[in-house]
Amino acid sequence: MKNKKVLSKRMTYVVMIAPALILFILFNTIPLITGAFYSFTNYKGYGSFEFVGLRNYIDLFSDARVGNSYLFTFKYAIIGTLLVNVLSLLLALGLNSKIKFKSALRAVYFLPNVLGGLVVGYIFSFIFTYIIPAIASALHINFLENSILAGEDTAWIGVLIVGVWQAVAMNTIIYISGLQTIPADIYEAGMIDGVTPWQKFRHLTLPMLMPFVTTNLILSTKNMLMVFDQIMALTKGGPAQSTESISYLIYKNGMDGGQFGFQSANAVVFFIVIVAISIFQMVITNKKEEQL
């Protein structure tokens, strides 16, 4: 009797996991494997295909366009992650202090997070193309009179601004919840000792906040590496192919350009890179946490 019940309990657990597991295998693992399979072919997405062995992978490393997309994506992700974290930490410190209109201000600063990236991109595209140059020419600020999206060297900044604008919200919230986990008596101890605000931050707040820094770094790096919506809305990879992100290139040439096979290889490499970076970050930040 009892035996039967234990068995059925285990069965219940199995039944509970089954739908998730089946869906996950069907729509995550199987496409992952098929994607890897196509990466060894010259498949266009339609018609017939041949196996080309490792040719796609060899090509990847000699393809200037793919190389540039990696450079752009990493430049974007690294600078973006730093900016987002500095800004959101500052905002969180501000929003967590004893200020007026606290909840209203928090609500405003979180707003970008609920808005869709594509539409936000379209709005900023208009601002960059028309409004900023108009303001700049009225104030005679020469370097801003041209749309920053039109310059090969500046377009990525435009994409970055929009990306950061949206990403700061989420990280701020995480930092605020982090700050709230720090018990007030620690500060009071510090207060009596008469510490400068910077010292207080450096030696009291930051160490306590370290787990949240980890979360935020991983979260924003991952999101920034996958940048797509902003590119689609702002530059479509231009000008002069200077803002082609990896995701955008895979979409553009894989779906539209008849490079299904080649871009599958690109996607496989991208996947490996993301996993490697995430593991690397976790190891590093874990070490940091232990040190502090």
Binding site: P112, A138, F212, M226
Partner: protein, 309 residues
């Protein structure tokens, strides 16, 4: 923990102790200073709000204007409209088939939430309760959670093929895909939450003779309520604004979602920025309204999700 704290406070305590005790008698300047700093911070934060609200202001103003009111100088873009008219909105609603795309978006987001809450909570519970004792469960847990690192880009092209073979190149397919995409995060959240739910409840129910299935739905599932809210909010924000999945899975069908419609109708908008911005504003409006009424819950939900994750 306590060791850490000592380490931290030690170097600080050494230097300024003396000066501080000297200042102690006069407390007043300090509160004044405090007040001043609060004021400065508040002022900075309010000024900072402009960066958030300015794009929205532009959107609203342009959406309300007629094309003839648009000129190439700043005042043309920034000034308030001379006549209040909702024509642009009516036209945008007609062009983008607003109500239909809104309906689709609501359906997709709603169904994704329901499926996620049911499927992920079950899995999260079963895994969270067993992974520390049974190796197989632990493996499954890590297998699913590692899905977090799989970029959509690699799944995209095979999924397009696969969903169509299965007859899922429609809204239902998109819903199932969302259920899979948010699974790693949600399962992690749910199984993490199980640490806070004492085993005693289940044991008591067990003695009463209730089946594990029944115990889950009558006792555990309701107890996970805060996590359901978090999962629902995170899933909703992600699915509502997503463009790429419906773009590749449902393209060519007559059904679009609200953000996808903005992409699809770029050519129809042409250079009529007023029409385009009216449509953008309409696309932002549902979530804006929801946000205004439930911002506490939304921010709270996101915060718990992030902290637990």
């Amino acid at each position: 923990m306590s060791e850490k704290m000592i380490n931290v406070t030690e170097p600080v305590a050494t230097e300024p102790v003396v000066t501080e005790t000297e200042k102690k008698p006069s407390r007043k300047p300090k509160t004044n200073k405090r007040k001043a700093s609060v004021f400065v911070i508040t002022a900075f934060l309010i000024i900072g709000c402009i960066t958030i609200l300015f794009p929205l202001y532009i959107t609203i103003v342009i959406a309300l204007k007629s094309p003839s009111e648009m000129t190439n100088d700043i005042s043309g873009a920034l000034s308030l409209p001379q006549h209040f008219s909702l024509d642009n909105f009516a036209e945008a609603m007609r062009v983008t088939d607003f109500w239909r795309s809104l309906g689709n978006s609501v359906l997709i987001t709603g169904a994704s939430i329901v499926l996620s809450v049911i499927i992920h909570s079950m899995a999260g519970y079963a895994l969270g309760r067993n992974m520390n004792r049974k190796k197989k469960f632990k493996m499954i847990y890590f297998y699913i959670v590692s899905g977090m690192f799989v970029p959509f880009a690699i799944l995209m092209m095979p999924l397009v093929k696969q969903t169509s073979i299965l007859g899922l190149d429609n809204m239902f397919g998109v819903i199932l895909l969302y259920t899979v995409f948010y699974m790693p995060m949600n399962v992690m959240l749910y199984s993490g939450y199980m640490k806070n739910v004492p085993l005693a409840m289940e044991e008591a129910a067990d003695i009463d003779g209730a089946s594990a299935w029944r115990t889950y739905w009558t006792i555990i599932f309701p107890m996970m309520k805060p996590m359901h809210a978090t999962v629902a909010i995170l899933t909703a924000l992600g699915t509502w604004n997503d463009v790429m999945t419906p773009l590749v899975i449902m393209s060519g069908s007559e059904n679009t979602t609200l953000p996808l419609a903005q992409l699809n109708f770029q050519t129809q908008f042409g250079t009529n920025y007023n029409l385009a911005f009216a449509s953008y504003l309409l696309a932002l409006l549902p979530i804006l309204i929801l946000y205004i009424f439930c911002q506490k819950q939304i921010i709270g939900g996101v915060a718990t999700g992030a902290v637990k994750g």
